[in-house]
């Protein structure tokens, strides 16, 4: 990691959607960077803006109905300054994405092998035969049994876990520098989830690609992340190393989320649930969006946006109570 310029950097990203109920402020000024080979987890509950953030990094948001501001730089290029043709080159080749639902990525009418080969041919000037060879290699790499036979399979002929692996193979077809993974194991059974997470971890280590893993599950973050960013109402409320954020969370929402997650040792104890519900994104308060649910709320919380405080251990916390480095 001698290259000081990050592979990806996001500064002041805002995304708002026009909805019949008003303007929904889905992402509200987030900043983060991703180094080469790093795994960053965006952790948050549903509606906190994780998927919108990922789609913004691929420039996949509907241009008509969304308002995007801020800056996204990928491998030195200003993503929102590029012509659409260049963005298409980037997708798949530099940045690639996997989803919770593999059928979002896989085409039901083509075989797995044909889809992977087609992606390779589109991005790289190689022969069809060469692309076919690479497709087989990829299926082996994602540990699909009888890979050769599976090249000829249609997505619906595969089990859930195999489809997930096939989608990962497709995403990795052109050796992207960044993999964006949107809850890729959420719909899977525990045993299969663990298989897919270990696979992703191994592929990441082998290829050195950087990963942004979106999840609502603390366990997925603990199993995969180098760094964790906790999102709430479209903001990153805490960001630091996985150990910092998961073992000694500082932001009241992060603390609350961990306290309400059931784990061993809580039996017969009352769960420390966060009261209330997340805010309406069409009517965010002027102050901290978590304040209405926060046990440590005080006057300052409702006045304006909480400051981003950089603590002594270098983590960043969006809270008036956080203690800045001296």
């Amino acid at each position: 990691m001698s290259d000081p310029t990050p592979l990806l950097s996001v500064t002041g990203l805002n995304v708002a959607f026009q909805t019949p109920r008003g303007t929904a402020q889905a992402v509200n000024g987030i900043d983060f960077t991703l180094a080469r080979g790093e795994v960053l987890c965006l952790l948050g509950e549903s509606g906190s803006g994780k998927s919108v953030t990922l789609r913004a990094l691929m420039r996949l948001l509907p241009e008509q109905r969304s308002r995007i501001s801020g800056r996204v730089t990928i491998a030195g290029e200003d993503l929102y300054g590029l012509p659409e043709r260049r963005v298409e080159d980037l997708r798949g080749k530099v940045v690639s994405m996997v989803f919770q639902e593999p059928m979002l990525a896989l085409d039901p009418v083509y075989t797995i092998g044909a889809q992977i080969a087609e992606t390779i041919v589109r991005h790289e000037r190689v022969s069809k035969a060469e692309a076919g060879r690479r497709a087989l290699e990829l299926l082996e790499k994602v540990q699909i049994p009888s890979a050769k036979r599976r090249l000829e399979a249609y997505p619906h002929e595969m089990s859930g876990g195999m489809r997930q692996r096939a989608m990962i193979a497709l995403a990795l077809a052109c050796n992207p520098a960044i993999l964006l993974a949107d809850e890729p194991t959420t719909a899977l059974d525990a045993t299969v989830q663990m298989q897919v997470l270990l696979l992703l971890r191994r592929l990441q280590a082998e290829t050195g690609m950087a990963v942004i893993m979106v999840t609502h599950d603390i366990g997925v973050a603990a199993e995969t992340a180098d760094r964790v960013a906790v999102m709430y109402a479209g903001r990153i409320v805490e960001q630091g190393t996985a150990a910092q954020v998961l073992k000694t969370p500082q932001h009241p929402y992060a603390t609350g989320l961990f306290a309400s997650t059931v784990h061993a040792g809580l039996k017969d104890r009352r769960l420390d649930a966060i009261p209330g519900a997340p805010p309406d994104l069409t009517a965010l308060p002027p102050g901290c969006a978590f304040a209405p649910r926060c046990a440590r709320r005080r006057e300052a919380c409702d006045v304006g946006q909480p400051p981003k405080i950089r603590m002594a251990d270098a983590r960043e916390v969006l809270c008036v109570d956080a203690v800045a480095a001296g």
Partner: protein, 347 residues
């Protein structure tokens, strides 16, 4: 908490020593068609001869991968589907015999995962909550008053919620309403089928606290079905582990979680995610996806994924072995007489 009952709770017929529910050999096979015109008729052995009982006031957790028959079991217990065979005795009374299905459904209620699909979108919350009591003969005015009271019991403000429609509420609020509706007839047993699984963690914790409170104030017994092993550990007294339509292990959660006896239970538990980034999982416990219950393997159904499988496992189906302390396991490894080379006795 004060409880207003419009319907009196069902009487405790058999006394405290009588299990609330005894299930024996419950079986449901679904006919499924293969693809193609001449495809043979197949059967999915969704639930295949399960026997268990549940004591008054306890919470039985049911775990296992998708397709193992958890929801089918729940629907059989509720008699939303007819079993092919097997019997059910509710508090000493044979279901379908002394106890009519209508009376069973007053005593047993269910909450599903999908909070939205479970509510009629065209009924206000008040009408949804009053519906079953009115059917059971409660005057409309009283049922409405009880609905308001129930909403308060599940932590919702009745004044704002009664007149609303399901789509105007959050998933967490809707699930509270489904719980209130399940309680409207004052049942004794509530089956919760992945009832908190779709909720965000902070809301899930609220609803789990609520379930614990309601169990006490309504004197309930729960069957809690979940794929989340941590949640089952937290809420259940006993756990039942299912694999392809069979019960593979059953016992007190403290014992099962401390020392899982079935190789499948061990595999399932070791697939739990770590919450400590410095102590990550290093190896998978079992390969492959859970198979489906059409043409399940002979003998022990887990043997095709089991690291300990031997010849006997294909030849004979293992019977439940009593390990003491109410803990039982269906695995040849625990039966010295089974012929499995590594079997040992548990004394």
């Amino acid at each position: 908490m004060t409880v207003v009952h419009t319907l009196p709770p069902a009487p405790d017929v058999g006394g405290p020593a009588e299990p609330l529910l005894k299930v024996e050999g419950l079986t449901k096979h679904f006919p499924v068609r293969g693809t193609g015109f001449f495809a043979p008729k197949l059967v999915a052995r969704a639930v295949d001869g399960i026997t268990f009982s549940i004591a008054k006031g306890e919470t039985l957790g049911v775990v296992g991968e998708s397709g193992c028959g958890k929801s089918t079991t729940a629907r059989l217990l509720m008699r939303l589907i007819e079993p092919d065979s097997g019997s059910m005795i509710f508090d000493g009374e044979l279901v379908g015999g002394e106890l009519s299905l209508r009376d069973l459904r007053r005593r047993m209620q269910m909450v599903f995962q999908d909070s939205y699909a479970s509510l009629n979108p065209r009924l206000t919350i008040a009408d949804s909550l009053a519906f079953a009591p009115v059917v059971h003969g409660i005057p409309h005015g009283e049922a409405m008053a009880a609905a308001a009271d129930l909403l308060e019991q599940v932590g919702l403000d009745s004044a704002t919620v009664l007149g609303r429609y399901p789509h105007q509420l959050s998933g967490g609020q809707r699930q509270r309403i489904n719980i209130a509706r399940a309680l409207a007839l004052h049942p004794r047993l509530v089956i919760l089928d992945e009832a908190v699984s779709a909720l965000d963690k902070s809301v899930e914790a609220q609803v789990l606290n609520l379930l614990v409170d309601l169990k006490r104030s309504f004197d309930l017994t729960y069957i809690f079905i979940s794929h989340d092993l941590n949640v089952v550990h937290y809420i259940a007294d006993r756990a039942m582990v299912m694999y392809l339509g069979k019960i593979v292990e059953l016992g007190p959660v403290d014992r099962i979680y401390a020392a899982p006896a079935h190789p499948y239970t061990r595999a399932l538990f070791s697939a739990r995610l770590s919450s400590d980034p410095e102590r990550r999982t290093v190896a998978v416990a079992i390969e492959g996806d859970p198979p489906n219950p059409i043409n399940p393997p002979s003998g022990c159904r887990f043997r095709t994924r089991c690291p300990m499988a031997a010849e006997v496992c294909a030849a004979h189906e293992p019977a439940a072995i009593d390990l003491g302390f109410g803990h039982s396991v269906a695995c040849h490894l625990h039966d010295p007489a089974s012929g499995h080379a590594e079997a040992r006795a548990h004394v």
